[in-house]
């Protein structure tokens, strides 16, 4: 198991729109865990799938609890970032929507670009813990594939207009190559046009360790060492003099 698709739940009672959104998201490599037409159904799906990354919620839903009430429950119990879908009908609704602090909005009628932007925005805001304050903010889409976000125990890496989730424990090491950086997992390699130092900043220091000018390793994935070389997977990673003491202090020889 390597990188995972980001899992999205869609809560929308207009089934054609829900399916359209599902189609569009699938096309750009997101995984749809389900479509719920009501708050109750949405809560069932959330409980069944404990690894949902983002929820898209239409504000106006049939039933007793609308999208805003659902968002309130999610905020209180589940702590999952959510995005409001709305055609922005009246101000009182918008005020209520703001009160539950959504991480992004998608305004109907939307297109592919708006969906991509809002997902990126929601992830960025969630990782920084800054809810979206304005409904009508000009949303700038970050063109470059250099977004790295750490949310919970995963790294969210942007690639080809979409994000992928890489659990931290899956990462073996990161390798710098001039302005690029390669993230190696057990099964895949991701190349980012981003300096190593910038990615390193998003990694937990008790789990990742700089061993060389060009290498950051996952401590837990080290399976052995010989001289100034660390064995990770089937690769040998050099340890430079600068970091040697610090590195080998962690690995006590018997």
């Amino acid at each position: 198991m390597a990188s995972q698709k980001i899992k999205i739940l869609i809560v929308e009672d207009e089934i054609l729109i829900a399916q359209d959104i599902a189609n569009r998201l699938s096309t750009i490599n997101y995984q749809i865990v389900g479509i719920a037409a009501s708050t109750e159904r949405a809560l069932e799906l959330i409980i069944q799938n404990n690894d949902i990354d983002i929820i898209l919620i239409d504000i106006i839903l049939k039933g007793e609890l609308d999208g805003i009430e659902l968002a309130r429950i999610i905020n209180n119990k589940h702590h999952i970032p959510f995005i409001f879908l709305t055609s922005h009908a009246d101000t009182s609704l918008v005020e209520r929507a703001k009160s539950v602090q959504p991480y992004a909005y998608i305004l109907k009628p939307f297109n592919d670009r708006q969906i991509s932007i809002s997902i990126e925005l929601a992830l960025v805001n969630y990782s920084k813990n800054t809810p979206q304050k304005e409904l009508i903010k000009k949303q700038i889409f970050n063109k470059t594939d250099n977004q790295v976000l750490q949310i919970k125990d995963s790294l969210f890496l942007k690639k080809n207009h979409h994000f992928e989730r890489v659990p931290l424990k899956e990462i073996l090491f990161l390798q710098a190559d001039s302005n690029y950086c390669t993230v190696s997992t057990k099964s895949e390699r991701f190349v980012y046009s981003m300096v190593l130092k910038k990615i390193e900043a998003h990694l937990p220091i008790n789990q990742f360790l700089r061993v060389h000018r060009s290498y950051v390793v996952n401590i837990n994935s080290v399976i052995g060492f010989e001289g100034n070389m660390l064995f990770i997977g089937n690769k040998k990673i050099p340890v430079s003099k600068t970091y040697r003491n610090k590195v080998f202090r962690l690995f006590h020889t018997i």
Binding site: I17, N23, S87, A89, K108, P109, F110, N111, R113
Partner: protein, 592 residues
């Protein structure tokens, strides 16, 4: 009715004998107070008011105030149109004016009263008035007229049974004759009164008749008769304590003795008269007796005494002159006071009338104000109600419009979603492209609506923001690996312009993204929208493989047709400029 008879008048020694009972001063005050109280508190009839006021006038020690009440009395009498009461009031006024020295006013009042009595044939009252008038004329030393009036009175009384009045009138007539030097007529008159008094048997009539007769005899130098009559008069009047008359007769007797050469007796009588006058405080008499004594002592060559009495005479003369002055001033003051009172009354009336006007005006004003307030309130209420309903309607309208926009956006979303869903099912199918193109067209339209109703309900849209998002959306949708280059003016356009323009740009950009960049290493696209007065210049430049009309028509004939049609709708022109590399579209449209 009270009667007043003036029995005689001596030059400089004026006698008025009032035959009605007089009250003491303090009694007068009490009476007046009680009368005033009655007038104020009791609801008297008008007639009673007239009589009460007249009585107050008769009692009041201050002549001015008395006159005021008398006039009030007359006023009410006139109001109730009672002739007798008017006459009574007029008589009172006449008397008071007389006392105040306003003789002409007094005559006027008396004559008015007389007229009333004549018309009513009230003879006794007429006679009384004649007497009053006569008394006035005597004061003015107009004895002939006085005598005529007294003769008339006498005639009236002769026909009546009123012996007393008849006698007193003759007595007055005699005095008038005496003063006008008709001494024989005077003597006859006094002899007649003495004759009549045998039946009447009045000491006063007896005393006055004899005293006056004595004075006549003295003037006629019938000294013995004079001495006899004067002595009788003094002996009758002295016990009656009529010091005034007594002192006058004593002095007269003194002159008789003086003429007779009985100087001792003369001196004794002069001194007695002098001391009596002094005791009784009769200043005018004191002055006159001083003059007598001065003359007497001069004749006797007792110059020291003469000087002494001359001095006393001077003192009393001065005092009396002063008194006259004071009286004159008092009269002037009285006149002024009356004027003042009258003007005050007028003023009060005017004030009263003014107040009435004010109250009326105020009432009308307040009524009008209330009316206006009510009308204003009603108008306001109406306006409020109208405003409220208008506001409600506006709100409903806004709500409906929002709901409508919501539905438009939702439906546009549905159309777009339907096309998108269908395109997914048509993988590899030739129709897919048409469906996708349709989807993009719908999305271009949708974007207008999303932008339009985002914040305010408006019919204009910001060109730059909208076109940029449209183009970026297409770049995203077609997974373009480069960024477009924008140069767009910051202007707003109407919905009527925005929709066709969006569709035109949509087609041009899609065409470029689909066909222009095949095997192009460094793809570029530039979009220029600039306002030129009432026109908008649009340039879309790419560095692609160039545009071949024939080929394009084959590939996307509908798109090209759409562009030309919409430009026509926008009243614009479209040109494809010659370019070395790629395609350069230039369009000019009219800004609505």
């Amino acid at each position: 009715m009270n009667k007043y008879i003036n029995p005689f008048k001596y030059k400089r020694l004026i006698f008025y004998v009032f035959l009605y009972t007089s009250f003491s001063f303090s009694q007068n005050i009490e009476k007046i107070d009680s009368l005033l109280n009655t007038l104020k508190t009791d609801k008297l009839q008008k007639k009673e008011q007239v009589l009460t006021l007249r009585e107050i006038a008769g009692q009041h020690p201050d002549l001015n105030t008395a006159l005021f009440y008398a006039k009030q009395s007359l006023k009410i009498a006139l109001e109730i149109d009672d002739s007798i009461l008017q006459a009574i009031s007029l008589e009172e006024i006449s008397l008071l004016e007389r006392k105040l020295g306003n003789n002409s006013l007094s005559f006027e009042a008396s004559l008015k009263a007389l007229k009333i009595y004549e018309s009513l044939k009230m003879f006794e009252e007429q006679a009384a008035t004649y007497t009053q008038l006569a008394s006035n004329y005597i004061s003015d030393e107009d004895y002939d007229i006085a005598i005529q009036y007294l003769k008339r009175a006498k005639k009236v009384y002769a026909d009546s049974d009123n012996l007393q009045n008849h006698t007193l009138t003759i007595l007055n007539l005699g005095e008038a004759y005496r003063l006008s030097k008709h001494l024989d007529s005077a003597a006859t008159a006094f002899q007649q009164t003495l004759h009549l008094n045998k039946t009447l048997n009045s000491d006063i009539v007896q005393g006055y008749s004899q005293g006056n007769l004595g004075m006549v005899y003295n003037t006629q130098n019938k000294l013995e008769l004079a001495e006899e009559n004067l002595n009788d008069a003094i002996s009758i009047l002295r016990p009656l304590e009529d010091y005034y008359s007594t002192s006058v007769y004593l002095a007269e007797l003194g002159t008789v003795y003086n003429k007779e050469g009985k100087y001792k007796l003369a001196e004794a009588k002069f001194l007695e008269a002098h001391s009596m006058a002094k005791e009784s405080g009769l200043k005018e008499q004191i002055r006159d007796f001083n003059a007598f004594l001065t003359n007497f002592y001069e004749e006797q060559k007792q110059y020291r005494k003469a000087l002494e009495y001359q001095k006393q005479f001077q003192i009393y003369q001065d005092s009396l002159v002063n008194k006259e002055n004071v009286q004159k001033i008092e009269q002037l003051k009285a006149g002024y006071e009356i004027d003042k009172r009258e003007s005050e009354i007028d003023l009060l009336n005017i004030t009263n009338t003014n107040q009435k006007y004010w109250v009326t005006a105020l009432t009308i004003g307040v009524s009008l104000l209330l009316l206006f307030a009510y009308l204003l309130y009603r108008g306001n209420k109406k306006v409020k109600v109208a405003n409220a309903s208008l506001f409600k309607r506006e709100q409903e309208k806004a709500l409906l419009l929002r709901e409508l926009n919501h539905r438009i956006k939702n439906n546009l979303q549905m159309i777009s979603s339907l096309l998108n869903l269908q395109s997914h099912e048509l993988i590899g199918h030739p129709a897919k492209e048409a469906i996708v193109a349709g989807k993009h067209r719908v999305e271009a339209l949708s974007l207008v609506h999303r932008k339009l109703y985002q914040e305010e309900l408006d019919t204009r849209i910001l060109l730059k923001e909208y076109i940029e998002e449209l183009v970026l959306g297409l770049f995203h949708g077609y997974k373009a690996s480069f960024e477009p280059n924008f140069k767009i003016d910051d202007i707003s356009v109407s919905l009527d312009t925005a929709v066709p323009l969006a569709l035109v740009i949509n087609e041009v950009i899609i065409n470029a993204l689909k066909y222009a960049y095949i095997n192009i290493n460094n793809p570029k696209l530039k979009l220029i929208l600039q306002k030129d007065k009432d026109f908008l210049d649009i340039e879309i430049i790419d560095n692609g493989i160039g545009f071949n009309a024939n080929e394009a028509e084959k590939n996307n004939s509908f798109g090209i047709k759409l562009i030309y049609s919409l430009i026509e709708q926008l009243e614009g022109v479209i040109k494809k400029l010659h370019s070395k590399n790629g395609t350069h579209w230039k369009m000019t449209i009219k800004l609505a």
